[in-house]
Amino acid sequence: MARPRVCVIRAPGTNCDVETAHAFRLCGAQAERTHLFALLREPRRLHDFQILCIPGGFSYGDDIGAGVIFGTQLRVHLADALAEFLQRDTLVLGICNGFQVLVKSGLLPDGPGGLSKGGGGPSRRRVTLTWNDNGRYTCRWVSLRVDNPRNAFLRNLETLELPVAHAEGRIAVSRSDLLPRWRANGQIALSYTWHTALLGTTLPAGPNHMAASAGGRPAAASGGTAAAEVSVLPYPHNPNGSVGNIAGLSDPSGRILGLMPHPERYLFAHQHPRWTRGDAREPGDGMALFRNAVDYYA
């Protein structure tokens, strides 16, 4: 079997690189943790890899905004190298901060075209990942629906349970026609859905939780950015108030995926919050994403 080479980039403040590389290795890939500075010095290094992964963390402290400085580095210094990289049959995965970096750089949602100077630069950006509706960092598990099972990382998947851990995970858009377009292009990859743990119980689900039966509310209420066709699920099902309940976005080719939840944190049953109740699967749901990426080269 082919063993694709994965470049797991770490920048100052990246902190999920070890477990993300571990996940790729468990699935049979050769994963290498590479410092961003090494790539900046020598962008040609990207030639050696089939998969590029930007893992979670707080790149550059998320100072100025989540993923902003790292994203700017990609856009300003690595745009050509990335465009070249993506001309081959390669994959890109951004998890949590990595997703924020991909969006802030412009590589998502539209692919390498969004990176280049012709794309209009950051002021033309129409989508962002910004502060959670509850205004704070939130670590908890969510249930996800796979919207595009043709995405390279999500093949044959329907639902997943994974943890989120972020402060700026809310997708906001400045134009209302983006969501229908993304949907048509298969770019909406993953959505938050009613959280399994909170269904079938009448117990209050924790501080600040609305009862699961409270129903969704129109997206427009979440802030003046454009309205969507899907009503936003209440917290904690949609943990950040993301428009259209979007948890992960893809480019139109389905080879670039960015997602807020952390697949590398659910590879084994005992990472699941309810494994002692018999509610977990072995392997964990996150393993499939890495397996799919490796199998893409089988």
Binding site: C16, F37, I64, T72, L203, G224, H270, R277
Partner: protein, 982 residues
């Protein structure tokens, strides 16, 4: 002025970034909410902006471009650019509003400002300096009184920030100044006592008269006057914070059993217990390095040892909660990193003590921050540092008591993995002294001596220099290069730069060899620091290495590749002297022997008089449900989900039992379980125990109970009770008072006794004394508030296979509920007493021999897979434990007190329900396992109390066969969740 054709002059620009219409202005909402909480009724309208101040050769179009390319998010924010140097560019403040700017004091760490500068330079902008500010527009008919309180309490913290009203006018952002070398000599040899004390006081040295005499006599012998840097070095090294002179010094202690003399209190109690245990274990000894390095180290698996350390950062957190807690967690992470040759952090813990958030604002003494602000700041400080470092925060607790009002406690802990064989370090003469990580600034000067005195209302202003803000990313980068350098064997020894800065780090590392330091070589944040300031600065994120000269090039290249700064600031010698130079001129020359062994031994008096015992007679009622709900909703017991979810408790992917567990993932777990080595199924359990309320009745049983609680929490999740290591953290008041020290001595003797009886070694510890706050009352008298003696016991357990871990949530209807352990009439200091206002009573004791057997049997039952759920009994006793298990599992329970009454002979329902007797667990056992479990508890106290149900209620049958608790799980859970649902 035409700016197009020539390079613009250096000037300051402001980019003001606001949420676009329709986006929530979160900072404004926070201000409004806090104002409402504080009753500032005339605060009605608030808008906010974040502001970037850029100094450089920039013109308006360039600044515009900077804003678009980097500073503002075009989807959710809008921006405005103005030249801050020109008043002509001031836009009028909107009608009816007043503009305020909050800026850091010069020199305070501004992480976002510095990142902004670097990113803009990277994009090609000519920016020399960048800073951030917050802007607020407030309705201008606000009352003067509300305005003053809003500024002080809500908008800015005077310890680190100041407010400018109206548009900002700035011509320069530059910090720092010129430094002209001048060697300062302090005439001491002929000084009278009065002068000696004045020198200590005015220099902020916190040295007492006896110590000043010793120093004077030393320099008389040497035949010259000391320099300022020499006095500072001695003061730092001899400070309570660095040397723990009280607890390692001689103490004469008197109590009801007579008089005892300790030559070294810690050595003869806590260390002694560990030494005895290690001797008993012989070749089975599993301690690796205890009480000598920055953290305690024990064996974990064949690849790794595991380290644990807990520190406090109380005084800085009282003054600036965010920065204090931030640097508290940052500091304790550097402890394991500086243990042996450096350990990799795998999880953090935090325990806080606060005044209740409901404490009335108008009763706050001067200089005291409102508890809500302290709580929010401390939680945010731990969150922002721990999360950024990528270290999961997995365990903690919060205790509330009015006596923590002016002196909150912030305990931060870190567990780390150290490869087997890397626990020894040894400085060689000739090694370079290398500082790596953050730069040195004026921040944190006198932190060590400041934390060795009590706080007063002046502290907020007088100690501003001791308050800092950390930079987690700098520390994360430092961690990455150090672990690589360790694995390549590039250095001989490492230690952290904590309290006392270089003076402590180099002084300690070179204690056996000698050291020569070239102070001008230290990289500085800004110019203008004197040689003494460089030497004692407590700037964060710095580590000191002893590096063989031949490895310097390799180490420098490694640092450069990752953007980490390193500099050689001296070398270790074989002179046993500490020689300090600035630009080639000698400014200090001290004998290491005098520095480390010259401190006078001060004999402290300690006494303890047990308070008169009074019986506690509980009220009677036919319905204990309301009391149970009051206990569940009490500050100490209630859900801490608001805090827990702000911490990343999953990063590193080792999480096995999370802090919140159960059917809806929000019940209170007893201890966190992690798998720190992804290659192994062996796990660690992390837990804590503390109960200051018991200490008011008897510090001995308080300490014993805290150990019991920490140990039983580990056992409850499946840890092996024979492999639990513990840490002590004593936070006490001023121990110069014999009765305050007496209560500490009493607690320390309990630590010795219980550690020995349980076979549970202490492996490290720390004390923080002088936790008091004194202020002047309106009538002119002075009032001193002393914290309750607060002993935190932190436990590090091990579990052979994480697959055997259990959680406390009930699993399914039809299972049996077993209470194991002995219930006694012990309501003194309990939460039952607290919520019913009862006083007196017997404080919970520890029956150590029995406890050890119960822990062993419980562990065997869990290990053998016989237990569906296990929860320890702590605050609120049996009733609270049953309620928590039921609502966490969304499974009902029916219990009957009669079998417990028969087994114990206790006839009082309140005692049976709420006694907090130690060493007890409530187990859920499937009917088919009942026999096997009972076998494991043969001849131990175990009582079957009832079963689990699908009714969604907790029902407890009393001794007259009626339901004395009959509550829906929803209501119980709601009572538990509501108080801190912020």
């Amino acid at each position: 002025m035409n700016t197009r054709t020539k390079t613009p002059d250096v000037t300051v620009w402001e980019v003001e970034v606001r949420p676009t219409k329709g986006e929530i202005d979160r900072e404004a909402e926070r201000v409004l909410a806090e104002s409402r909480n504080m009753g500032l009724r005339s605060v009605r309208r608030v808008m906010s902006a974040r502001s970037f101040l850029l100094e450089g050769r920039l013109d308006a179009p360039a600044v515009q471009r900077a804003a678009e390319e980097l500073l503002a998010d075009p989807v959710v924010e809008s921006y405005r650019v103005r030249c801050a140097a020109e008043t002509a560019q001031d836009e009028p403040v909107p009608e009816g509003l007043r503009l305020l700017n909050v800026l850091f004091h010069p020199g305070v760490t501004d992480n976002v400002g510095e990142s902004t500068r670097r990113a803009l330079v990277d994009l090609g902008f000519e920016v020399g300096a960048a800073a951030t500010a917050r802007k607020y527009w407030i309705n201008d008919d606000i009352s003067d009184r509300d305005f003053a309180r809003l500024c002080r309490r809500v908008l800015a913290n005077e310890a680190i920030e100041h407010i400018v009203i109206g548009p900002l006018h700035l011509h320069r952002l530059h910090v720092g100044g010129e430094y002209r070398f001048q060697k300062i000599v302090v005439p001491l040899r002929d000084a009278e006592d009065e002068t000696l004390l004045r020198i200590s006081r005015e220099g902020g040295l916190s040295l007492n008269l006896q110590e000043m005499h010793t120093i004077r006599d030393h320099f008389r012998e040497v035949g010259r006057e000391p320099t300022d840097i020499e006095l500072e070095t001695i003061a730092q090294t001899w400070s309570e914070h660095c040397s723990h002179k009280t607890l390692t010094g001689p103490v004469v202690y008197r109590d009801e059993h007579g008089e005892q003399r300790f030559e070294n209190l810690l050595k003869e109690t806590i260390f002694a217990a560990t030494q005895t245990l290690r001797r008993q274990w012989g070749r089975r000894d599993w301690c690796v390095s205890v009480f000598r390095d920055n953290a305690g180290v024990v064996r974990f698996n064949e690849r790794y040892d595991v380290c644990f350390k807990v520190e406090t950062h109380n005084h800085p957190s009282a003054i600036e909660p965010y920065g204090g807690a931030n640097t508290g967690i940052g500091g304790v992470i550097r402890d394991p990193l500086g243990t042996g040759l450096g350990a990799k952090p795998v999880c953090n813990t935090d325990v806080f003590c606060f005044a209740p958030p409901t404490f009335p604002d108008e009763q706050l003494p001067p200089g005291v921050l409102p508890p809500r602000a302290v709580i929010r700041g401390v939680v945010a400080g731990v969150r922002d540092y721990g999360n950024r470092m990528g270290i999961p925060t997995v365990n903690g607790a919060v205790y509330f008591d009015d006596r923590y009002l002016g002196n909150p406690l912030v305990y931060c802990g870190n567990v780390a993995l150290l490869p087997v064989g890397k626990h020894e370090k040894r400085v060689e003469p000739g090694d370079l002294i290398v500082v790596v990580g953050g730069r040195t600034g004026r921040d944190g000067i006198h932190g060590a001596t400041f934390s060795s005195v009590e706080l007063t209302e002046e502290s907020e202003t007088a100690s501003g220099g001791a308050v800092q803000i950390g930079n987690a990313i700098t520390e994360k980068m430092l961690l990455e290069v150090l672990l690589q350098a360790r694995d390549r064997g590039l250095y001989h020894a490492i230690t952290d730069c904590g309290a006392g800065g270089f003076s402590s780090a180099v002084g300690e590392m070179g204690a056996e060899t000698g050291a020569e330091v070239w102070l001008e070589k230290a990289p500085l944040k800004y110019s203008g620091l004197s040689y003494t300031e460089i030497w004692i600065s407590e700037a964060q994120e710095r580590m000191v290495l002893a590096l063989p000269p031949e490895n310097w090039d390799a180490f420098r290249r490694l640092c450069e590749a990752e953007g980490v700064e390193a500099a050689v600031i001296g070398r270790f010698t074989n002179t046993r002297r500490l020689a300090l130079f600035y630009d080639g001129r000698q400014v200090g020359d001290l004998s290491m022997d005098f520095l480390h062994h010259g401190r006078p031994r001060i004999v402290r008096e300690a006494c303890y008089r047990p308070p008169a015992t009074r019986p506690l007679v509980p009220a009677t009622t036919t319905d204990w449900g309301p009391t149970l709900k009051r206990i569940l909703g009490s500050w100490n017991v209630c859900s801490k989900e608001w805090i827990i979810r702000q911490y990343d408790h999953e990063v590193q992917a080792g999480s096995v039992v999370k802090p919140l567990v159960g059917r809806t993932e929000d019940g209170p777990g007893d201890a966190a379980v992690l798998r720190p080595d992804l290659q192994s199924r062996r796990g660690i359990a992390v837990a804590c125990g503390m109960n200051p309320l018991y200490g008011d009745l008897d510090p001995y049983w308080m300490a014993a109970s805290a150990i019991d609680e920490a140990v039983r929490n580990c056992v409850a999740v499946g840890a092996d009770p024979e492999r639990i290591a513990i840490l002590d953290n004593f936070c006490w008041g001023n121990t110069e008072r014999p009765e305050t020290l007496g209560s500490l001595v009493r607690a320390a003797t309990a630590c010795r006794d219980i550690a020995l009886a349980y076979g549970t070694p202490f492996i490290s510890g720390k004390d923080s004394l002088y936790n008091e706050f004194s202020y002047q009352r309106p009538d002119g008298s002075r009032e001193t508030v002393v914290i309750p003696g607060s002993l935190l016991i932190s436990a590090l357990g091990q579990i052979e296979d994480v697959d055997r871990a259990v959680t406390m949530d009930l699993k399914r209807p039809g299972n049996r509920l077993l209470l194991v352990g002995e219930t006694a009439d012990e309501l003194g200091g309990t939460h039952f007493a607290l919520v019913t206002g009862a006083s007196g009573g017997r404080v919970p004791r520890v029956r150590a021999k029995l406890a050890r057997r119960i822990f062993a049997s419980t562990h065997h039952a869990i290990r053998d897979g016989l237990v569906a759920a296990c929860h320890d009994l702590s605050e609120g006793g049996l009733a609270a434990a049953a309620a928590e298990m039921a609502f966490a599992g969304a499974i009902g329970a029916e219990l009957d007190l009669t079998p417990l009454a028969e087994a114990t002979g206790l006839r009082n329902e309140a005692t049976l329900l709420f006694s907090e007797s130690n060493s007890r667990f409530l187990l859920e056992v499937a009917p088919e396992n009942l026999h096997a479990v009972r076998e494991r508890f043969a001849d131990l106290p175990v009582v079957e109390l009832g079963q689990t149900t699908d009714a969604g209620r907790l029902r407890i049958r009393g001794l007259r066969q009626t339901w004395i608790v009959d509550e829906s799980l929803d209501e119980l859970k709601n009572a538990w969740q509501q108080p801190l649902d912020w």
